[in-house]
């Protein structure tokens, strides 16, 4: 089954700067982008083209590295090299700064909302992962600071259904966190990558985790079920069940697992975007086989930093690049 990626639109979102991240709103109708120009921009479709609806240029003093939408779509979080995370509230077409989360010692690399909408996680070059709780009055409070990584933490992501967090770092490791007795702790460390792990993505059911690395591979990890049926065990055991190697020419900066189709997309420093699909998953769940369904060698003129599947429209993909642009693609699995 050979697939293809068709370009729908290319937008020069952050001129003369890197575009680091693009994120679809939960409704799939808005796209947030952020970059080296310290700005966040919100894009919406007008007719056939994506237009800028809002610019938030004063929230941060340095590069904005990641933007993330709350599950309800009313809030946007932005993580910046200025060591802060800003929470924005959406009112009609405008975004207003609600609060600024401080505490990290240096650059915040990533921010992510839990599916419940009540928890937020951030990570930083200061090697820590912070977990924040939000209450009904929009008050944010840091509930845990976890120092499991020995270096820069690049990415954090929540499990789609459980209160479980995963982080990836410059120390080549992936850590899994759970809340144990009101405190967040690292319950598993996944080793195997030979260089920095840049990003993570859970599969739609939350059974597996994909990680991508500077070692030019994508690894798929699966949670091992404990033989004795311990359902309340705090221990997490994950093992690597698949490694995709030989496909990427340079560092893989991002990986995204489509909630609707199960397709896996990657953003690579060789300017390419690739989509992987799983071969018949029923053959052996412990040894999944993925094949490369689509490959666009020059998706952008420079490194691709981020890839994001639209949550509502199957096959719609957004990517962004060091050249400041983002692109919207349509992926067809059979071409």
């Amino acid at each position: 089954m050979k697939g293809a990626l068709e370009l729908l639109q290319r937008v020069s979102a952050h001129p003369d700067a890197r575009c680091w991240c693009v994120a679809w709103s939960p409704s799939g109708t808005l796209l947030a982008s952020c970059g080296g120009d310290c700005a966040i921009k919100i894009w919406g479709k007008e007719g056939d083209s994506w237009e800028c609806k809002c610019v938030m240029a004063d929230g941060h003093q340095r590069t904005v590295r990641t933007v993330a939408w709350s599950p309800c779509g009313k809030y946007l979080a932005s993580a910046s090299f200025d060591a802060t995370t800003c929470i924005w509230k959406k009112t009609n077409d405008d975004f207003e700064s609600l609060t600024v989360l401080e505490g990290h010692e240096n650059e915040v690399k990533c921010v992510t909302w839990a599916p419940s909408g009540n928890l937020l996680a951030t990570c930083s070059r200061d090697k820590s992962v912070w977990i924040w709780e939000v209450d009904e009055e929009d008050e944010y409070e840091c509930v845990s600071v976890v120092n499991s990584h020995t270096q820069d933490v690049k990415h954090v992501v929540w499990h789609p259904t459980q209160e479980l967090l995963a982080s990836a770092g410059y120390d080549n490791k992936v850590c899994i966190y759970k809340e144990v007795d009101d405190d967040w702790e690292c319950r598993a460390t996944l080793e195997g990558h030979e260089s920095t792990v840049w990003s993570l993505a859970f599969d739609p059911e939350g059974q597996r985790l994909a990680s991508c690395s500077d070692d030019r591979t994508v690894k798929i990890w699966k949670k091992s079920t404990l033989g004795d049926g311990e359902s309340d065990s705090s221990d997490e055991s994950w093992k690597c069940v698949c490694t995709l190697s030989g496909f990427h020419g340079r560092t893989i900066y991002d990986v995204a697992w489509c909630r609707l189709t199960g397709a896996l997309a990657t953003a690579c420093g060789d300017d390419g975007v690739r989509v992987f699909k799983e071969e018949d998953p029923t053959v052996d769940p412990e040894q999944p086989v993925f094949f490369m369904s689509a490959h666009l060698p020059k998706a952008h003129g420079q490194d691709v930093n981020c890839v994001s599947w639209n949550p509502k429209e199957a096959g719609l993909l957004a990517t962004c690049s060091d050249n400041g642009e983002f692109a919207i693609w349509k992926y067809n699995s059979d071409s």
Partner: protein
Amino acid sequence: MSGGTRLENANPLIFQRSGERRLTATDEDEDLHCYFDISINDPEHPLSLEELNVVEQMRVNVNDQESMVSVEFTPTIPHCSMATLIGLSIKVKLLRSLPDRFKIDVHITPGTHASEDAVNKQLADKERVAAALENSQLLEVVNQCLSSRAM
């Protein structure tokens, strides 16, 4: 970033060694001959790093077709921060001089520095490099390193 799309139009990097020798870039494209000269000054000393014998050798590999540039340098002193700063300065110089399409790899000549893995990893991490260059003090030091003296 300046420079046209063809490598010949890129701003030359001036490299000065005590013997006034010029370093010729080796490349895999027969039709392309580039001369890369790099001048880097130690911010704490008035002489060039070359003259101070801080960097022994620099090999530059250019592949115009693949849009790749690889620079290998040999620090003569074991000090880790100095090697990182030199590497960072070389990287910045290349970023500013070459067309955007180029992938730039700067690393220490294998086997010539005790912390080469750690230094190389930092230099290869574009996020860390970008964040470091947003630090005005560090940027100032890098710029001083790169400012050329009498040539």
